[in-house]
């Protein structure tokens, strides 16, 4: 019951109203005032974007660092290094053996060539080719001399 009495009394406060003249004057004043300038909004938008970009960049950097770190640690892992070193030694030895075998066959071929007394290098085809190249060399030499003489005459 007492609650109803209080609420009924409070309801009467709804009758409070502002002065009409005040309402009119304030309306005119407010509506002739400009809102926040667009440049300020653009600046705020720019700051927010820059902040978001910085956060994104930081996140990407952290992620990339985290992804690369295990590789680096694996690179410096002593056990892995030892295994790699041992494998490297074996590979070097195998390569050396292969090289020596190849060297032996080259030496034996060279010795055979020297011991061979037949003049295989006097093949007529080869000689003709050589002569042809010599002739072209001569022609080139002559042309050069002519060119030099002409240059001397002209200049």
């Amino acid at each position: 019951m007492w609650q109803k009495k209080i609420i009924n009394q409070l309801n009467k406060l709804k009758a409070i109203e502002p002065d009409k003249d005040f309402v009119q004057k304030t309306r005119i004043l407010i509506l002739t005032t400009p809102t926040l300038k667009p440049t300020r909004r653009i600046w705020r938008w720019f700051l927010v974007s820059a902040g978001a970009f910085a956060v994104l960049l930081l996140t990407l950097t952290l992620i990339s660092n985290f992804a690369v770190k295990p590789k680096i640690s694996a690179f410096f892992n002593q056990q892995d290094l030892k295994t790699e070193f041992n494998n490297l030694n074996v590979q070097i030895q195998l390569q050396e053996i292969a090289y020596r075998q190849n060297l032996d066959s080259v030496i034996s071929l060279a010795l055979n060539e020297i011991s061979d007394k037949q003049p295989r290098h006097l093949n007529p085809m080869l000689l003709q080719k050589e002569q042809a190249s010599l002739e072209t060399d001569n022609i080139n030499q002559q042309q050069k001399e002519i060119n030099n003489l002409l240059n001397q005459i002209i200049f």
Binding site: Q9, L13, K14
Partner: protein, 181 residues
């Protein structure tokens, strides 16, 4: 025209759209502020400040399903807090009840006196409880809207409202040396 459309137009820089929103809510905001500060001149200044602030920051308003008035009441609540922080002025009870007598044309002295006592009790409440009493029993808002304005849960509003009414009863009884039945 729908309120949401008016807000969008106002956000697009149409002052007349904001003017219509102003016409709709100026009396409510004035009343709320006046009941909080108890001075006509201060209430007018604060009301003007609230609407000016709302108009200048209209682009920050985001529609969240509550009436535009919720946003205005939030601005008004902050304005009143700043007002008390700066001036430390007590509510002038005479001014509140005199204004009511003139505006509502109430001739019954006993009723005005009762209201004066009740308002004296309301003035003793915590600021949040005062807000709830005004928004609930003067402006007849529902708990959901009040909760959105004051940033509290509906349950908290219900509890505060109950406690506030009980306190009003106690203060009035103390003042008159007799319990209200």
């Amino acid at each position: 025209m729908e309120e949401e459309k008016l807000i969008k137009k106002a956000q697009n820089g149409e002052p007349e759209a904001f003017g219509l929103l102003y016409d709709k809510y100026v009396a409510k905001i004035y009343r709320f502020v006046f009941l909080k500060v108890g001075q006509r001149a201060d209430a007018e200044d604060l009301t003007q400040q609230v609407f000016l602030n709302a108009w200048q920051n209209i682009n920050n308003f985001r529609w969240q399903g509550f009436p535009f008035s919720s946003w205005l009441y939030k601005i008004a609540t902050n304005a009143v807090i700043d007002y008390y922080r700066q001036q430390k002025i007590q509510i002038d009870l005479e001014s509140v009840t005199e204004t009511l007598t003139v505006t509502a044309e109430t001739s019954d002295f006993d009723r005005a006196l009762n209201l004066k006592n009740i308002w004296a009790a309301v003035a003793k409440l915590e600021p949040d409880q005062q807000n709830i009493i005004i928004l609930k029993f003067v402006e007849k808002m529902n708990n959901k809207e009040i909760a959105a304005i004051l940033g509290k849960s509906e349950g908290a509003i219900r509890v505060s409202q109950h406690r506030a009414l009980k306190k009003i009863k106690e203060y009035v009884a103390e003042e008159n040396n007799q319990p209200i039945k």
